[in-house]
């Protein structure tokens, strides 16, 4: 290997590692903080790696009134959101991927435009309406608004996924005697399934992370971010760090599972026909 190539390689890896460091270090700190015993937070200077690892802080967090409940609420809301979002949005994605029809472009633009409106703009009037409709402070209410926020993404993502499943296979199944529904269920759906699972996880993360709407829509039935946000001012620092850790971990896990689909989804969002 000649010297110039070697030097170039060195710079590449140096740059790449530096950026990786920048991304990872805060996550490592959060994990360390979550396993640091409570009293260590009052030490100065605080040891970066705790003197002993303990579940103290996490136990305190989980035992705080309302937290465990909000954790379960978050899971329920996210599950409902992903069911609703895919149920409503995936057919539209399929239509966008398979058919050329009048109004297709207008629909695509309309979907993109919905992403430009601030959450607050939807959340406040929906909350006012939900008070009237008896959906205020219910998990279903939160899931409904999260679905509204995740739906445009779901349509775009599923369009990309169905574009990736060849239309010819479905047509072949139909010439061999399958109905359209049969061809979809036996050919397109199994092939699209991994992509749809990734889309589902992504929807889950959107709901899991959402805080504005969840906070103003609930009083008793908080989701985890809503619970943490409303307790910010009255909670000790270690409570907040543990809260950050709990919110991040599932999201990171999901990101790991869907890493191969990231470009399918986001690349698809921009590169799709």
């Amino acid at each position: 290997m000649n010297f110039r190539v070697l030097r170039r390689q060195t710079w590449l890896y140096l740059g790449a590692s530096l950026a990786a460091f920048w991304v990872l270090v805060p996550i490592v700190f959060t994990a360390l903080a979550a396993f640091t015993p409570k009293q260590d937070f009052y030490l100065w200077p605080k040891p970066v790696v705790p003197r002993r690892f303990s579940l103290d802080t996490m136990r305190f967090f989980l035992n705080t009134h309302g937290v465990l409940n909000s954790l379960l609420n978050s899971v329920w809301v996210a599950l409902m959101t992903l069911g609703l979002t895919l149920g409503v949005g995936a057919p539209a994605g399929y239509a966008m991927a398979r058919f050329l029809f009048r109004g297709r472009e207008a629909f695509r633009l309309g979907i993109l435009v919905t992403r430009m409106f601030p959450t607050a703009l939807l959340a406040i009037p929906i909350t006012v309406n939900f008070i009237r409709w008896g959906l205020y402070d219910t998990l279903l209410g939160v899931a409904l608004i999260h679905t509204a926020m995740a739906l445009p993404f779901a349509v775009i993502i599923t369009t990309g996924i169905f574009l990736g499943v060849s239309k010819e296979l479905e047509e072949a199944a139909m010439t061999l005697g399958c109905s359209r529904l049969g061809a979809f269920a036996r050919v397109a759906l199994p092939l699209a399934l991994p992509g749809l699972a990734a889309a589902a996880m992504f929807t889950f993360v959107i709901s899991w992370n959402e805080v504005f709407a969840a906070t103003i829509l609930t009083v008793q039935n908080r989701t985890l971010p809503a619970q943490v946000l409303t307790m910010l001012r009255v909670s000790p620092l270690y409570f907040r760090f543990a809260g950050g850790f709990f919110m991040i971990m599932p999201a990171l896990l999901f990101m790991f599972f869907i890493r191969r689909y990231l470009f399918h989804m986001w690349g698809g969002a921009t590169a799709e026909r």
Binding site: V23, L24, A33, P45, A92, V128, I145, N209, T270
Partner: protein, 289 residues
């Protein structure tokens, strides 16, 4: 009429498949949009500007609008530059570049509130940064990164946290864009003797323009809406527009002024989008949001 055959035709089927999405967005998007506008403009005696006047008179309003703009202005360009550098780095496809790209994309799954708390652990008075600086003997007593005495520094911590959290999305969009640029163009430029910066300036950047545009629009809109990072890190030290909307609803129970803030945010978002579309013009068929 044979319904089964009618439904099976390709003329009607796509519309039937779109119907659930359209209906959902009508009830949970268009209607609330109208409601928000009427909430902010409608009083007891019909049309009124009193809610907007109330918003303008809010003691935090001036600060909030200033902070929102300055935050977006300092975060978005910084993210674009970082993401572009990283995207080019990853696009050289060195051994292990996929792994690094996955690492860089990690913050995509992290919420704004969580990101704020992550950086709070670092910047708080007895946090990690101060502890490390102290251990290295660089400081004698903790620096107050987050305090009313030092709003500038607090602002900076928010910029860093947002940069850390939300650069991933720009990166993913740009990498996707770079991958679509055919190697032929670059090879042609090389044959014609283009230097590295010339390739970047005259070939890559113009071809990347649609991706840059979508990244800019998405990031600016989300940066303008940002609020949980600011609250988690700085409490009310650095008020922002979305945060004011939240406080007016949750603390003061005033949906009218909260909506006025939201409508203002929408107007700013639409205005910025228009500016980007106007000044970063690309062929209309490749414009992406």
């Amino acid at each position: 009429m044979n319904w089964r055959r009618f439904l099976g035709t390709d003329t009607l089927l796509p519309y039937l498949l779109l119907l659930p999405t359209l209906a959902y967005l009508l009830v949970f998007f268009l209607v609330p949009l109208g409601n928000a506008i009427s909430l902010s403009f409608w009083g007891e005696e019909g049309f009124t500007a009193q809610h907007f006047l109330g918003m303008f008179q809010d003691v935090k309003f001036g600060e909030a609008i200033k902070n929102t703009f300055f935050l977006a202005l300092s975060i978005v360009p910084l993210q674009l530059i970082t993401a572009l550098l990283l995207a080019m780095l990853v696009n050289t496809r060195f051994r292990g570049s996929k792994f690094f790209l996955y690492l860089y994309a990690l913050p995509l799954g992290i919420s704004d509130l969580a990101a704020g708390l992550v950086w709070l652990a670092i910047f708080t008075q007895h946090g990690y940064l101060n502890s490390i600086l102290m251990a290295l003997g660089l400081i004698e007593r903790p620096i107050y990164f987050i305090s009313y005495q030092n709003v500038g520094l607090t602002f900076l911590t928010i910029v860093l946290a947002e940069h850390w959290r939300a650069t991933a999305i720009v990166l993913v969009i740009l990498v996707a864009g770079l991958q679509m640029i055919s190697r032929d163009y670059l090879e042609a430029a090389e044959v014609l003797g283009a230097k590295r910066w010339q390739k970047l300036w005259y070939v890559i950047l113009p071809l990347l323009k649609p991706s840059l545009q979508s990244a800019l629009i998405i990031r600016t809109i989300f940066a303008l809406q940002m609020f949980a990072v600011a609250i988690a890190l700085g409490g009310e030290i650095v008020p922002v527009l979305a945060g004011e909307s939240y406080y007016w609803y949750s603390s003061y129970r005033n949906p009218h002024i909260a909506s006025a803030y939201a409508v203002l945010l929408m107007a700013i978002s639409l205005g910025m989008t228009w500016v980007y579309l106007r000044f970063l013009r690309t062929r209309p068929e490749v414009t992406r949001l």
